[in-house]
Symmetry: C2
Subunit: 420 residues, 2 copies
C-alpha cells in the first residue's frame, strides 16, 4: 500500500510551527509496511486544498490528513474531503455528548462542527482534545483525518489509526528496531551484509538516527505472536555479529534517556550529576522520564573553578596542573558528586563545547565523562567535531550510554577505570 | 510573489528526520513579503520528483528546493531540475578548487558532481559543507536549490538566497517582530484593533508563538533605511498601547534565552540557579548562549529536600511548615543560591511538573519562581495547565521573563517582593 500525508494549516506555511505530524505518520506507517511517498502542507484555503486532494487521489491508496479539524470556519479539512468523496457529514450523538462534558452545555454550539463525521467512517477517538478523528474507505481509497496538534495526533494515530490500517492488510506486519553505537553505518552494514543481501522475511534495513544507527527488523505473518517469534530469531542472529555495539531495542520508539531512566528506576539505582559543558542538559534529559525524582538526587552545573572546588572537592592542584578540561578533573568531579550525595553513581562531564574556549592542545570538542560508584571511577575521553549545540547533545548521549554500560557491567568499561 | 518549497529525500518520508528546512524557508520568505503556499516532501525517485516539479511549475513563481545536492547517485535534485528547465549543467572551476581544499585532491572525484551548477545560475555559497546552492531564473520562474542539512541550508538561505530574491522585488520589504506575554491573542488584537484595521504600510499581523504572541510589522519602501524608519514609527505607536506586555523585538529571530543571556552579558550581571521541577532545563536554556559561562556561575538541580537544605540552606521548618512547593521555599532557595555564589542574581524554581505528585491543595502545574539580588527577593506563583514537558518548558520561559523584568526594573515587579 502506498500512502501520503497532507497537513492542512496556514500556520505551517507561515513557518510558525513545524510539521512533526508528517514525520510521525511516516515512521508509524513504515513499521507496518506502508510506504509514504509524499508529504504536502497546504493552507486553510479551499481551492488549493481541493487541488492537493485531487492530486493525492490520483496517485495514492492511503491519504492521511492532519490538521483542519478545529471548530472554526477556517477549519476546512473535513468539509472539503467530504465533498471530494461525495459523502455527507452526519451528526454523531455520542460526540455531541462528549463535547458537552468537555466544554459545558452552553459552549457546545461553538464546537458543534466537531460532532459531525463523514458518513460511513470509523471514529478515531481523541483522548486529549475535542476534535475526533475518522477513517473511511471509498472506491479503493483509504482516507484518515486527524487533528493537527501533535499531542492529539500522535497517540490517535498509534492507538486507533494503525489498528484500522492493519485490518486492510492481509498479513500482520511488525517492526522492531535495534540501536547501535560506536561504529558507522557502512561498518554496521558490512557486519551483517550477507543477512541483508539474503533477507526475505523478516527484512533488515539500516537507518541512521541522530545519535546512533539502527537496524529495523520487519516481519510479515498471520498475527503478532508469529511476527515476534520471527523477529526475535533474526535479532539473535544479528546480535551474534554486532553485540559489542548494541545499545537497546524497541517495538515502540524509545529514547536513550528513557532507556537509561527506566533502567535506573527498575534497578532502584540512585544517581547524581556534576556537569560543566553540558550546562544542565544531561540532568534535563533524565528529568524527561516521569518518576525519575525518586532516583535522581542532585544535578549541579559547576561552570566555575570555584564551584567545582566548593561543591565537588576538586583540588586546586588538579585544576592548576591538569586544567578544568582533563581526565583528572572529570575523575574528581565524579568522585565528589557521588560522595556528596552517596548515590549509587556520580556522573561528571567537563569539556569544551565551543565556539570559543579551544586551544591547540585542548581543542573545541574535547570532552571527558566520568562515572564513580564510590569504589571504582571510570573516565572516557571524546573528541567531537560538531558545533556548540551538537557537541552538547552528543555529549549527553555519550554520557547516558557510558552510564548504561557501567550499570550493565559491559566488558568495555574495564579499560576506562581511572586510577590516581 | 507566490512560492513553494520542495524538500527532496527519502529520509523525510521514512520519518527519520523532520522537515525543518520548509519551516525556515517559509518564515524567511514571509519576512520579505513572499507567500509560501505549499510544502512538499518527496523521495529520491526521479519519476515522482519530476511530477512534483511539474505541478510546482504550473502553480508557483518561486520554487525553493532543499536536499538532494549530495555527491551520490541518489542525489537527484539538480539533475532533475536541469532537465525540466532544459538547461545544461556546467563545471565551475572555483567549486572544484574548493572541493579540493575541503576534501583533498584524491577525493574530489567522488564529489565532482558538486562542482557542477545549472547554466546561468547564481552560486549560493555553502560555508559549512561541500554542496553549493544555486539560484536561476527562466520563463518567469525563479528556482533556488539548497542542500538539506539545516546547518547548511538555513545560513545559505538567509545570507545568499534572500538577497537574490530581494533583487526581484521592486520594493524593499522588511519585517520586525515584537513579542508580548501576559495576555492572549484576542486581547492583544483588541488593544491594537484600529491600527490593524486601518493598516497600509507598514502592515501589522498578530502571530502566536510557543511561549508568547507577536506582532509582525512589515514595511515596503525603496530601501532598508526607509523601511526601518517606517517600522520604528509604527512600533512606537503600537508600544503606547501594549507597553506592559512587551518583552522584546527583533529583525533577525531571537529566542527568550538569547535575549536574556545577551542582557546579562551586556550588563555583566552574574547569575546562579537552583532548580527543582525544571530539572536543569533553565540552566540548559541559558547555556545555549555562547559566552554565557562568564556570567553563569552555577546551576544546581536540588531534587531532594536534603539537597535543598545542604546546598541552599533551606530550613527544615520551612519545608515542614510550607512544603517543598511553596512561596517560602522558593524564597529560601533563591536567597541560598545567591548567597552561596555571591552573584548579582540567584534564581529558583520549585513546582509540580506532573503527571504525578499533585494534590487538591497543590495541583500539578503549581510553580513558584524566586529571584534574589541579595537585598530584595521576589517570588511569583503560577498555575500551569500543560503536561509534564509543557509545564517544564513554560516554566523556563516564565523564569527568564521574570529575570528580564527584574534586570530592567520593570514596574510590575514591586508587587512580587517577598518579605519574611
Amino acid at each position: 500500500m502506498n500512502g501520503e500525508v497532507i497537513s492542512v494549516g496556514t500556520e505551517l506555511l507561515l513557518g510558525q510551527i513545524i510539521n512533526t505530524d508528517a514525520r510521525m505518520v511516516s515512521e508509524r506507517c513504515q513499521e507496518i509496511g506502508i510506504n509514504i511517498f509524499y508529504h504536502t502542507a497546504v493552507g486553510d484555503n479551499e481551492e488549493r486544498l481541493k487541488q492537493v486532494i485531487q492530486t493525492a487521489f490520483d496517485r495514492s491508496d492511503l491519504i492521511v490528513f492532519t490538521g483542519g479539524l478545529g471548530p472554526t470556519e477556517d477549519d476546512l479539512t473535513k468539509e472539503t474531503v467530504t465533498k471530494m468523496l461525495d459523502l455527507p457529514l452526519v451528526l454523531v450523538k455520542e460526540l455531541e455528548e462528549k463535547l458537552e462534558k468537555m466544554l459545558g452545555k452552553e459552549k457546545v454550539s461553538f464546537n458543534i462542527k466537531q460532532a459531525y463525521i463523514i458518513e460511513g467512517s470509523t471514529i478515531l477517538p481523541n483522548d486529549f482534545g475535542t476534535a475526533a478523528g475518522m477513517a473511511v474507505r471509498k472506491d479503493g481509497k483509504t482516507v484518515i483525518l486527524l487533528p493537527g496538534p501533535p499531542r492529539e495526533c500522535a497517540p490517535m494515530f498509534s492507538k486507533y489509526a494503525i489498528p484500522f490500517l492493519r485490518q486492510e492488510q492481509e498479513e500482520y506486519i511488525l517492526s522492531k528496531t535495534m540501536a547501535f553505537t560506536g561504529l558507522g553505518e557502512p561498518e554496521l552494514e558490512w557486519l551483517v551484509k550477507d543477512i541483508i543481501d539474503t533477507q526475505s522475511n523478516p527484512t533488515v534495513a539500516p537507518l541512521v538516527k541522530d545519535n546512533y544507527i539502527t537496524l529495523r527488523v520487519t516481519a510479515k505473518s498471520k498475527n503478532r505472536e508469529t511476527c515476534e517469534k520471527l523477529i526475535e530469531a533474526k535479532e539473535k542472529e544479528l546480535l551474534e555479529r554486532t553485540e559489542p555495539y548494541f545499545i537497546f531495542d524497541y517495538y515502540e520508539e524509545k529514547s536513550m534517556e528513557e532507556y537509561v531512566g527506566d533502567l535506573l528506576l527498575e534497578k532502584d539505582l540512585s544517581v547524581s550529576i556534576a556537569e560543566s559543558m553540558t550546562g544542565g542538559n544531561l540532568t534535563a534529559a533524565l528529568v524527561k522520564v516521569p518518576g525519575i525524582s525518586s532516583v535522581l538526587k542532585e544535578g549541579i552545573v559547576t561552570y566555575t573553578e570555584e564551584s567545582k572546588k566548593q561543591n565537588l572537592n576538586v583540588k586546586e592542584e588538579t585544576l592548576r596542573e591538569f586544567g578544568v578540561v582533563s581526565r583528572e578533573t572529570a575523575y574528581e568531579m565524579a568522585r565528589g558528586i557521588q560522595a556528596k550525595n552517596q548515590t549509587a553513581y556520580g556522573l561528571s562531564v567537563t569539556g569544551i563545547a565551543g565556539p570559543g574556549g579551544g586551544s591547540a592542545e585542548k581543542p573545541v570538542g574535547l570532552v571527558y565523562i566520568g562515572i564513580s560508584d564510590g569504589d571504582k571511577t571510570y573516565v572516557r575521553e571524546y573528541r567531537l567535531k560538531g558545533d556548540r549545540s551538537r557537541n552538547i547533545t552528543r555529549t549527553v548521549f555519550l554520557a547516558l550510554n557510558f552510564l548504561r554500560e557501567v550499570i550493565l557491567g559491559s566488558p568495555n568499561i574495564e579499560k576506562d577505570v581511572f586510577l590516581v
